[in-house]
Each structure stands twice: as structure tokens, then as C-alpha cells.
């Protein structure tokens, strides 16, 4: 009994450490990447290649005063940033990094991750609403409607995959794709000819779910100042920031597990955690690349894209796959 608890505690600690480290160093990677893309150095002063920048930033944020605006709902205001970070960390518990590296392999792994992901919308809503700032309220309303509209095509796509593989266990999902690139879900097969399109839908939805540009309407800094975290400073802001990057890691991991064969090698050789990490960092880099290339969409353009394009296509794909699964 005590061993199981110890196990669980260790798993959670490792998950927190991984999430926090990733979040901190992805900020560095994003800033360096943006620097490369924009032909400027980026952070390069603290330590070699600016690698000590994240701890410096963290120290700075932690030593700052957390200002709670007058009239704000104090409790909710304090809870919101925690609510941004905690679900993201919890999701890591069930993500398999390789055949053996997984904290808790659950049969409902997919469901659990999506359940935690939808809590993220809650934190945005609470943050915007409780800080008694009109920009914050507008941004949080935007972010919630965006999250709701993009969870639907995302889940429909996941249902398609669950239907094909017959499992919701993330480990088994990867196992069903093992053996080389031709077995991955992204590659169209007879029973699922539209899988590349599903991949694009899922990718777009992950961008929107994580509030990344070009879908960063929740923080739209040129219209809504800083969106839902306008009033946050200090570590409150820091948590939102880290939560965003932790969510990006989860999004990339999900894409990798659902479509790109997890820790599987494209040629079926030497499967292992290195392939998983390589895949998620390539995906994360593409997230960063997109962010620094595209302008922001409008809120109605965003909702139109989801309701008029993504949802019909993913529904059609679901029906088609269901029908073809029966045939083949």
C-alpha cells in the first residue's frame, strides 16, 4: 500500500518537474526561435546561449508583488492561475513517453486528458471575470467560446481514431501504430482515407485549444491589451505563462500519440523515448513557427472556421470511417 502511494507521489513529482522544466525552457526556445525568425539574437546574455534566462525570469517573477486589483474577486483571482497550471500537470501523469516510461497507464487516458484540458477554459474564464477588467471579461468570453467550438471537432476526430483502434488507452493507441510509418494513423488506409485531413483538423484545434497564435484571441494584445491576464503580475502571470507551454507540450504529445505513432520509429527501428521527444519538439517548433508568421484571426473568422468547416468535415470523416470499417 505505502509503496503504491510512494509510486504515485514520485510519478506526480516527476510529471511536475517535467512540465515545469519544459514550460521554462520552451519560453527560452520560443524567444530564441522568434529571434532567429526575426533576424535578431533573442536572449543571449545570461549564461551560454542565454540558457540561464528562464531561471532569471522565474526569480524575477517570484520576487514581484502580486497586485490584486480593487474590486476583484480575491479568491477566484488567486485560484485562476493555479487552475491553469494544475490540470496541465495532471495530464502528464497519463501520457506515455515510451513503452516503459508512463506514470499511470489508464484505460480512459484520452478521456482524462480531455477532461483536464477543458478545465483550462475554466481558468481563463475565472481569470478574466474575477479581475474586474472589461478587457479581461471580453477576452475570457472569447476564449471560452473558442474553446467550446474547437473541442467539438477535436473530440470527433479522436472518436474516429478510437473507433479505428478500439481503445482509449494511450499506450495501446501507440502499440496499434507500431512497425513503421505506414502503420501510423496519419497515413490514409482503406478504412480511413481522410486521415491526413483529420490530422490537420486536430493540429488546428490544438493551436486553438492552447490559445496559440493565430488563434490567441484570449490575449489579443493589440486589441484587448493582454486579454484575460491583463491584471496579473508576478507569479500569477508566470503560472499562466507556464500553463500555456505545458498545454503546448500536451497538445504536441497528443498529436504524436494519436497520429504520429508515439515513440515508434518511422522505419520501425529502435523505438524509444527519443523518437517521442523528437516528434513533440518538431511539432512544438512548428507551433512556434506558425505563431511568428501569421497574423491573428478575428473572433468570427475563428468561430466560422470551426462551425462551418472543421465540424462538418470531421463529422463526415467520422461517418465515412464508420462505414468503411464495416466494409473492410
Amino acid at each position: 500500500m505505502s509503496l503504491t502511494i510512494l509510486n504515485a507521489v514520485i510519478a506526480v513529482v516527476i510529471a511536475i518537474a517535467f512540465a515545469a522544466l519544459n514550460a521554462a525552457y520552451l519560453v527560452w526556445a520560443e524567444r530564441r526561435g522568434a529571434g532567429r525568425i526575426q533576424r535578431r539574437p533573442g536572449p543571449n546574455v545570461n549564461g551560454p546561449l542565454g540558457l540561464l534566462q528562464p531561471p532569471a525570469d522565474g526569480l524575477k517573477l517570484m520576487t514581484k508583488q502580486l497586485v490584486i486589483p480593487g474590486g476583484a474577486d480575491k479568491a477566484l483571482f488567486m485560484v485562476a492561475p493555479v487552475l491553469a497550471m494544475a490540470p496541465a500537470i495532471m495530464s502528464f501523469v497519463t501520457i506515455p513517453f515510451s513503452d516503459s516510461i508512463v506514470a499511470r497507464s489508464m484505460d480512459i487516458g484520452v478521456l482524462m486528458i480531455f477532461a483536464f484540458a477543458s478545465l483550462g477554459a475554466m481558468s481563463v474564464l475565472l481569470a478574466g471575470w474575477s479581475s474586474r477588467n472589461k478587457y479581461g471579461v471580453m477576452a475570457s468570453v472569447r476564449a471560452v467560446s473558442q474553446n467550446i467550438s474547437y473541442e467539438i471537432p477535436m473530440l470527433i476526430t479522436v472518436i474516429t481514431i478510437v473507433m479505428m483502434t478500439g481503445t482509449m488507452n494511450l499506450k495501446e493507441l501507440v502499440a496499434s501504430q507500431s512497425g513503421g510509418i505506414w502503420n501510423w494513423n496519419i497515413v490514409p488506409s482503406l478504412s480511413s482515407p481522410l486521415m491526413p485531413i483529420s490530422f490537420l483538423i486536430f493540429f488546428t484545434c490544438s493551436l486553438a485549444e492552447t490559445n496559440r497564435a493565430p488563434f490567441d484571441l484570449g490575449e489579443a494584445e493589440s486589441e484587448l491589451v493582454a486579454g484575460f491576464h491583463t491584471e496579473y503580475g508576478s507569479m500569477g502571470f508566470g503560472l499562466f505563462f507556464m500553463g500555456e507551454y505545458a498545454n503546448i507540450v500536451i497538445g504536441a504529445s497528443l498529436i504524436t500519440i494519436l497520429f504520429l505513432g508515439g515513440w515508434d520509429c518511422p522505419l520501425g527501428l529502435f523505438p524509444g523515448v527519443w523518437w517521442f521527444l523528437l516528434k513533440i519538439y518538431v511539432l512544438i517548433f512548428s507551433f512556434i513557427w506558425i505563431r511568428w508568421t501569421f497574423p491573428r484571426t478575428t473572433i468570427y473568422g475563428l468561430l466560422n472556421l470551426s462551425w462551418k468547416i472543421l465540424i462538418p468535415i470531421s463529422l463526415f470523416n467520422l461517418l465515412l470511417t464508420a462505414g468503411l470499417l464495416k466494409v473492410f
Partner: protein, 372 residues
């Protein structure tokens, strides 16, 4: 007044955009009556950076006012100083050597390209794309370095004198200007590929923020705002001044009246400015840069003089009412953005806030120039 704010459906609320807001590029404030994301009514509040340049123009002698003009618009300052020296030269009847006029035209056009470049970057940043700003600033930096070498300053120039220039350009400037033209043409192609063709960018601007030709006329909008509404109006062509009649250039006009049209006008204008610079460098005559005969003390005869020039933002007018002394009796600055901005209140009604702010970006606002 405690507890979070409550917004009831059907109830409007007031949103203060500014004076400190990322989209206003300065200290402009727009009081917006909002119904959710929609603007019901907007009222622009000005004056946060008002410095009363017109009174300074009356209190100081004509040469003492020279540096003031570049403080109006820190992005396209040379256009404004050009207007000022032309107005005083017209009033006092000072002849300007041809070489000086050519150098003025070349530097004004360089400054116009620099101003449009910065606007381009800032405008795309308004739409959420941050990277083009950095590319634009890189090109702009080249121009600023070039101008710094001849004028001595990077933004707030005081380069023109009544009758000529403070400093002649050298071969290095000419070489760099010549090298700049192909470089900028290449950059323009890059911007076109990176931004103009971008689907998100087009979707955000096409058909958004309509400003009709009639509205332009009623509000006195000039410059790219008017040209984006299909009005072929450019002071350089309509009311030629300086040596502009000598140059062969086109005035880009688009009829769509939307934000994208205004964007395209400015992008095309950069190319036309490059053409002017090219021709100016080819035709640059030798000779003095200051007139031989110039009054020691500038005392224009009594009268009321007006001079309009085309700056990067539109038609800049300067009225000098002289009473024959060394100070101006009245020194009026007609700034183009003031008129362009005044139509924002009417144009943005019923728009969503993000579209309205995109339209505001397409007006190319420089707040110190509105407030003067």
C-alpha cells in the same frame, strides 16, 4: 463598487481604449460604447500630447521654429520641415538652388519610405503578426543610418534651411542610396509574399472598415486614406511644388474603400518613392546648396500665405500670417492625420472592436502629429 462587473444582455458598457493601449500607438484615447464586441458609439479624446506648436511658432522667429516641425511627426519628419521651409520661402520670396530642391526631394522620399515601412510593421502588429515589424525595421534602419550621415539626426531632423540645406550630400550617401533601391525592391517582394498574400491577413482587411470617397470629402481626409477610396489626389501631382513636376511617378489609387486598399496604396507608394529617388539621383545637378542672395533676417511681407505638401500621411498644410516682423503673426499647422482621424468616430460605429482597431491601424496615426 465591489465584486466583479456584471454585464447584462442588451446593456452597453463603456470601454476606454487608451490613452495607454497597444493599438493606439501613442496616447490617443477612444471612448467606446460597447455592446459586447460591437461598437455602438465612439468618441475620440485628444490632447494628451498637445504641445501648442502653433503658439511656439508665433513666439519664435522663423529660423527658431525650424526644429519644431520635425517634432510633429517623428516618423516622416522631413515632409513636415519641407512644408515649413517652402511656406516661408514662398512668403519671403527666397529662391532655392536646384540642387537643394533635388536633395530635398530625395531625402523626403527616403523618409517617406522609412515612415511607410514603420507603418507597415506596426499595422501588421496590430493584426497580431509580430515578425514583419522586425523586417521592416531592418530596412528602415538602413534609411535612418543614411539620413543620419547627412542630416545629423535619426528621427527629428532639422536639415532644411530657408533657401537650401544645412549640409550637402556626399558620394557615400549617393552610393548607399543607389544600393538601397534594389535592396528595398527585393524587400517589397518579400513583404508581398509574407503578408499581402496571407489568407488570414486578407480576410481581416477585405471589405472591412469602409471609408467612402464622399466621407473622405466631408471629413477632408487626404493621403493614402483618400487614395484607398478611389480619389486620385496627391499634392505632389495636383498642386506641384518643389521639383516634383520633373519626376515621372504614378499615384497608386484603389477603389475598394476598405482597409486592404489603404494598405495596398502605401505599399505601392514605396515603389513610387523609390522611382523618384532613382530619378533624383540620376538628375542631381551640381551647384550650390544655399542661395547667393539671402536676407539675413527673414521678414516676410505682411500677408497670408498657405503651402500644402504631401507627407507620408497626407496633405500637410501650413498657413503663415505675417505682419512684416521677424515672428509669424499666426502659424497654423494643418496636420493630415487630424482630419483622417476625425472620421474614425463615424466610420467605426457598428463594427467589431478588432475590425475597428484594424481600421485605425490602416489610417496610419501618429499621435503627436494629431495633437501638435
Amino acid at each position: 463598487m465591489s465584486g466583479p462587473i456584471h454585464i447584462q444582455p442588451g446593456e452597453t458598457f463603456t470601454l476606454n481604449v487608451g490613452p495607454q493601449h497597444p493599438a493606439t500607438h501613442g496616447v490617443l484615447r477612444v471612448k467606446m460604447e460597447m455592446d459586447g464586441e460591437y461598437i455602438v458609439k465612439a468618441e475620440t479624446v485628444l490632447g494628451y500630447i498637445h504641445r501648442m506648436h502653433e503658439l511656439m511658432g508665433e513666439n519664435r522667429t522663423y529660423p527658431q521654429v525650424l526644429p519644431n516641425l520635425s517634432r510633429l511627426d517623428y516618423l516622416g519628419a522631413l515632409g513636415y520641415t519641407h512644408g515649413h521651409v517652402l511656406a516661408v520661402e514662398r512668403a519671403a520670396g527666397i529662391e532655392v538652388p536646384e540642387r537643394a530642391e533635388y536633395i530635398r526631394a530625395i531625402t523626403v522620399e527616403l523618409n517617406r519610405v522609412a515612415s511607410h515601412l514603420f507603418w507597415f510593421g506596426a499595422f501588421v502588429m496590430d493584426l497580431g503578426g509580430f515578425t514583419p515589424l522586425m523586417y521592416a525595421i531592418e530596412d528602415r534602419e538602413y534609411i535612418l543610418d543614411m539620413l543620419e550621415a547627412v542630416t545629423g539626426s535619426r528621427l527629428t531632423y532639422c536639415y532644411y534651411r530657408f533657401g537650401g540645406l544645412y549640409n550637402d550630400i556626399d558620394d557615400e550617401f549617393i552610393d548607399r542610396a543607389r544600393a538601397f533601391i534594389p535592396r528595398m525592391r527585393k524587400s517589397l517582394k518579400k513583404y508581398d509574399a509574407l503578408v499581402t498574400g496571407n489568407i488570414i491577413f486578407r480576410k481581416r482587411l477585405e471589405g472591412i472598415g469602409p471609408i467612402s470617397a464622399e466621407m473622405c470629402r466631408k471629413y477632408g481626409a487626404t493621403g493614402p486614406v483618400a487614395r484607398g477610396a478611389g480619389i486620385n489626389f496627391d499634392v505632389r501631382k495636383n498642386e506641384p511644388y518643389s521639383v516634383y513636376p520633373e519626376f515621372d511617378f504614378d499615384v497608386p489609387v484603389y477603389d475598394e474603400c476598405d482597409s486592404l486598399a489603404r494598405y495596398k496604396v502605401r505599399m505601392d507608394e514605396m515603389e513610387q518613392s523609390l522611382r523618384i529617388i532613382e530619378q533624383g539621383l540620376d538628375k542631381l545637378p551640381d551647384g550650390p546648396i544655399m542661395p547667393k542672395k539671402k536676407p539675413k533676417l527673414i521678414k516676410p511681407p505682411a500677408g497670408d500665405y498657405y503651402q500644402a505638401v504631401e507627407t507620408a500621411r497626407g496633405s500637410f498644410g501650413i498657413r503663415i500670417v505675417s505682419d512684416g516682423t521677424k515672428n509669424a503673426y499666426r502659424f497654423k499647422l494643418r496636420s493630415p492625420t487630424y482630419s483622417n482621424m476625425s472620421l474614425f468616430d463615424e466610420a467605426c460605429e457598428g463594427m467589431m472592436i478588432m475590425d475597428a482597431l484594424a481600421m485605425m491601424g490602416s489610417l496610419d496615426l501618429v499621435i503627436p502629429e494629431i495633437d501638435r
